[in-house]
Symmetry: C2
Subunit: 341 residues, 2 copies
DNA sequence: CTGTTAGCGCCTTCAA
DNA sequence: TTGAAGGCGCTAACAG
């Protein structure tokens, strides 16, 4: 494959490599004519700066690493789209890696990204390992946690941008209570996930205060997907249902629940209210109209990229910033007062 | 930030950099003891090979570029997930870039990726520019077109893996005909898109052969999204509807159409049959049950990565491979014989 | 305004 | 089995 280097250009233009470099980069310390001539030759020869070599010197790649558990999840897809768009506006490119906690997948991805000398990392796949990961990589490169808020109580400090999952859980419980529900279920708790633990915790806390009874269905699998929601709901619906409302760990899970309810002949929202979390695009579809808690991916994307770049530039490891974004309730058609007949 | 180099390790271990390099890479030309000692020190010091420097020498990065128009589109999300997974199995990392044709966005992304010295490119954002792009980058780096099949008739040769959109269009028309529809619409044609042109072309060709009447609604926007589908359908439904079936350019568009139909009080499939294209996950939802043409993203991902890596390794630019994957009809609930009452 | 020199971190001959 | 020297492509002093 063609490999025109700065040296070739220099030879062709009858100048030194330094001059070519200057024509390509810094400003005025070069005569306009030679500059133009050199640039013309570059164009003709199809020269393209080897960014690897440049980064080797500058020790900056202008690349950000983004680690997500599952790009096929619409929430993550939207998030990554916004992150990439915003990063590019700021002159950064994003290297996207999918990986879930467990098996050291995350570690090896981080190691790879460090090897690639990315300027920083956005990490969305965090779970309980987070504390371990954070300590391990703390001095190696800037990182901001995405979505998974690290509880202050845990004594861990981290840079993070996240939905306030705990408050989100509270909001859900309060909403159910306001509608009149007293016996409810939280479906899709994944033990390893900080996000889920908080969401569940907030739900539980508010429910307790409001004297509601909560049944928790755990998700043994690694992902919150439609099919996992479907599986869990099927099992739940196998025995007689005493609860009147269900809070799903995510919209994807909620969609699976809807499917299972449909098959089991459980009317929504008459017999069972369903509330999701995320507000993915499909939640708004006319035949779905899923009530849910929305988090603003655009906002999260901007906040996290900005925070990360501040870290990259400042190089200070002594402050930690944690931005919490409160989710907002989106009322659509899947929640209603309990059926009393 | 910490920057342990091979030189530091060498000093610490009391050996030369060459020895460290050997301990890290090639096989047996080093005594097991020194090797172990060196590796231990590397671990202790948190050494991580600078992949940039290595690539500078090897002129191989083991990174593939992937250019997609819109990762928020579920089809692309699924595709990119599969591509990334498969590439990683083969020891490659994927650098994902979103960009649409127009404004030279694609060119600048390709230029960037060349600058990063990716080993090859998967390009899904192709349109009519394809022929221009292909010629321009032909000798610079291996590329395979994804999804957008370049018509043989055009005289362009390219490596490509794509859904057979023309046949897909035919299948749609034939299916409509079999159900009894004679007056149908194709909604969402984007002129600049090879994919859409072919899909539309196949639909039109078969319809003509079968004596069906086709109304084409063009999409003036840059993307096939739910909202664009909604917009187009709204306009279409504003005047009295004579057609009995509608083929949407993609599932996302179809979902928008469903929304508009819902609002306009048009019953599906009784009054209007709707057929999509892609078979995204959400098409299967119980409340959607969209009939559609499915393309296997896993299959496409594997085929395209494999093809690209063959090109990378062989370095031969004289053969072109074009793999066409026939879509399959998935009958769900949005298509039926025309209402005759 | 332009060229020379040195070196970023690593790998690869070639000697020892 | 190990080390020294050179260079991948580029940039950043420092001279001229």
């Amino acid at each position: 494959m063609q490999r025109v280097t700065i040296k070739d250009i220099a030879r062709l233009a009858g100048v030194s490599v330094t001059t070519v470099s200057r024509a390509l980069n810094h400003g005025p310390e070069i005569s306009p004519e030679t500059r133009e001539r050199i640039l013309r030759i570059c164009r003709e020869e199809g020269y393209r700066t080897n960014l690897l070599a440049r980064s080797l010197i500058s020790s900056r790649t202008n690349v950000l690493g983004l680690i997500l558990p599952d790009i096929a999840n619409p929430f993550h897809a939207a998030l990554s789209f916004n992150i990439e768009t915003y990063a590019r506006e700021l002159g950064y490119q994003v290297m996207l890696c999918s990986g879930r906690p467990g098996d050291g997948q995350i570690e090896s991805l981080i190691d790879f990204l460090i090897g690639q000398r990315v300027d920083g990392i956005l990490l969305s796949s965090a779970n309980d390992q987070a504390r371990y990961l954070l300590r391990r990589y703390r001095d190696v490169l800037p990182a901001v946690l995405l979505g998974a808020c690290v509880p202050e109580a845990s004594g861990i400090r981290a840079n993070a941008v996240s939905t306030d999952n705990f408050v989100g859980g509270r909001i859900a419980a309060e909403y159910f209570h306001r509608l009149g529900h007293r016996d409810v279920v939280y479906l899709g708790l994944r033990r390893g996930s900080v996000t889920h633990t908080l969401r569940h915790g907030g739900f539980l806390a508010a429910a307790r205060e409001l004297d509601m009874q909560v049944t928790t269905v755990e998700n043994p699998g690694p992902a919150s997907s439609i099919s996992s929601g479907y599986q869990m709901a099927r099992r739940l619906f196998a025995s007689p249902l005493t609860q009147t409302a269900l809070f799903a760990a995510s919209d994807a899970v909620a969609l699976g629940v809807i499917q299972a309810a449909d098959e089991a002949g459980i009317a929504i929202p008459e017999r069972l209210s369903i509330l999701g979390f995320d507000d993915i695009e499909y939640a708004a579809l006319p035949n779905i109209r899923l009530s849910t808690l929305s988090r603003n991916t655009a906002l999260m994307a901007r906040a996290s990229v900005r925070l990360l770049l501040e870290l990259v530039d400042s190089d200070s490891r002594d402050e930690y910033t944690s931005k919490l974004i409160t989710p907002t309730l989106v009322e659509r058609a899947t929640c209603a007062p309990p059926y009393s007949g």
